[in-house]
Amino acid sequence: MFPKGTKRKFSDSADDPAPEPATPLQRQSLLDMSLIKLQLCHMLVEPNLCRSVLIANTVRQIQEEMTQDGSWQLMTQALAAAQCPADRLVASELLCRQTDPAAAAGGPKPYALVGEAYQEEEEEEEDSEECASEGEEGEQVFGTFEIKHPPPGPDPALEELFSDVDASYYDLDTVLTGMQAAPKMGPYDLLESLSSHGRISSFHIIYYSMNTTEARTNP
């Protein structure tokens, strides 16, 4: 009663006797599916943390493999090229701001989506000392992403940029802060945008941040 034969890697075809490594297309499809699941996670009332962590780990695994064979770089470059310069500026501004200066990581990553959602939870629950430091970070996040009601005073330039903002940034709000917002774009619209690479979507921002991170850490 012990495992017989070899385990299959990533194959829906039950007829093949030998294990098959995932094809690039299968891998991309899994990545897309995972990112959609993560986005949906954050739209739910209270995301299941275990599920979010497992999906985020899967995304990280795919990203590692794609980085190794160079396809991650190709993808982020292609997406970055699709964006206009102003948006790129805004994107990096947004994401740099959000980073806690004390944090080791260079910038937010897709799997950090899990973390952000729960960062806000902790602010109320923990004792006052911790609350002070985390509250700061939390406020930074909210201050930066409160697109509809920009924070009073800090950066008029940023406010001006946001006044012309594309509706898709509301989705960025949802995704990166984990706040429950009325989704402007459903998962299938997202899938469309991912495959067409024409429209700027929240995931393009995430992909871009990966590129930015790597540019900073791997000169």
Binding site: M1, K7, D12, M33, E46, L49, V53, L54
Partner: protein
């Protein structure tokens, strides 16, 4: 083991059952559901004239344990779904159980009242105050039998100690303390103290961006009151000794099976996540369930499990679809029989599996109204893997109903009686021929 007698309990329109638990004698069986209700069944005493009517379970009490709550600070609703019920060992005439939803644990007292005092001097039979002038003599009130009433009252409410969702509770063998575990922390409580708990495990990283692992289940050792185990989403088990230090972040033992590098896939981690962990009654072994297998571990051997049982290996080639429809995240529980010789766990299509550790034989059974007629023997089922020869009555993998999942099962502590929760129906199966454990 052959299950010949059976009892079907259809709760009909009621909510999905979310937990099932026998008490320590097996006389009572508690179920919790998605609507926050607890239903307790009691076994009828044996000794009736008809041999097959003895030992059947009937409803003993029903009560609302948890209500939906609204967290105004986060604008989030807290579900009333009962995640776990655990009975306390019985110490007097009353029964006590702990029930928990995502955030709050409650201690309930279940007691019987079958007598009431009659013959008061100052009150009449309806309880109205008598006119003193009509009282001419004094009488001593006597206790008279009345219809049995089961009273349930909340004795303690343990709240505000969990930021994340509570997945496990476990009563210590000392009968004074218990643990509650959420995704990132485990707290130790004293049953008499509700305003504070002691944090014994905390795996929350300083930076939540670094979070890669969560706690999935936890349980106290059946008789070593200082030991407990917790499982993780990465497939590890950690045995902790509370005597070593106050915060048990350092484990005493780490149980982990090394990964087979040739079998690695993008789903390897997800399917290795442990959904349930149970100590054997003997305290020598651990039973764990991950997505495709059930494993028995020896507490003295950390580097690999003692036994691995394939629950539904035919799903291995379907992992991508199961990831897509989220079934890959289903958390199946597992159970030992009273003598630790057989283990049981649920699967899809209302199937559940039993593995005999001694004979190495296994069986697949189905919990459904259609296949269960009164007093009929449960017929073993077979799932035909794709590509292999299909026999009559086999179910092919592609026709499995993934919405019919048996997540919660329980085994009577001493006899061959099992409780199976199939969505909103509870099935109780008994092995009349072999009621003794082997």
């Amino acid at each position: 083991v052959r299950f010949s007698g059976q009892r079907v309990w259809g709760i009909g329109n009621a909510d999905i059952i979310s937990t099932v638990e026998f008490n320590h004698t097996g006389e009572l069986l508690a179920t919790g559901d998605k609507g926050g209700r607890v239903v307790i069944f009691q076994r009828e005493p044996e000794g009736k004239t008809e041999p097959f009517s003895q030992g059947e379970y009937n409803v003993y009490s029903t009560f609302q344990s948890h209500e939906p709550e609204f967290d105004y600070l986060k604008s989030l609703e807290i579900e009333e779904k009962i995640n776990k019920i655990r009975w306390l060992p019985q110490q007097n005439a009353a029964h006590f159980l702990l029930s928990t939803n995502d955030k709050t644990i409650k201690l309930w007292k279940v007691s019987e009242r079958d007598k009431r005092p009659e013959g008061y001097n100052l009150k009449d039979e309806e309880g109205r105050i008598k006119d003193i002038s009509t009282v001419t003599s004094l009488q001593v009130p006597v206790l008279m039998p009345m219809d049995l009433m089961v009273e349930v009252s909340p004795r303690r409410v343990f709240a505000n100690a969990h930021t994340y969702h509570v997945n496990s509770i476990s009563v210590n063998s000392d009968c004074e303390t218990y643990l509650s575990a959420d995704d990132l922390r485990i707290n130790l409580w004293h049953l008499g103290i509700t305003d504070r708990s002691f944090n014994i495990v905390d795996i929350k990283p300083a930076n939540m961006e670094d979070l890669t692992e969560v706690i999935t289940a936890a349980e106290f050792h059946p008789f070593h009151c200082n030991l407990f185990v917790y499982s993780s989403s990465k497939g590890t088990l950690r045995l902790c000794d509370m005597r070593e230090q106050a915060l048990c972040d350092k484990h005493s033992k780490l149980f982990e099976e090394p990964e087979d590098p040739s079998a690695r896939s993008f789903f390897s981690e997800i399917i290795s996540s442990v959904s349930d962990v149970k100590f054997s009654h003997s305290g020598r072994y651990l039973l764990t369930r991950d997505y495709l297998t059930a494993k028995v571990w020896d507490l003295n051997m950390e580097n690999k499990p003692l036994e691995t049982y394939q629950v539904h290996d035919y799903l291995r080639s379907k992992l991508c679809s199961l990831y897509e429809n989220d079934c890959i995240f289903d958390k199946f529980e597992c159970a030992w029989n009273g003598s630790d010789s057989v283990i049981m766990t649920g699967a899809y299509n209302n199937f559940f599996r039993m593995f005999d550790r001694n004979t190495k034989r296994d069986v697949t059974l189905e919990a459904s109204r259609e296949s269960s007629k009164p007093r009929a023997v449960l017929k073993p089922r077979r799932v035909c893997a794709a590509g292999s020869k299909r026999r009559k009555d086999d179910i092919s993998v592609d026709s499995l109903d993934f919405s019919k999942k048996i997540l919660h099962t329980a085994w009577h502590p001493a006899e061959n009686i099992i409780a199976i929760a199939a969505t909103n129906n509870l099935y109780i199966f008994q092995d009349k021929l072999n009621s003794e454990m082997h």
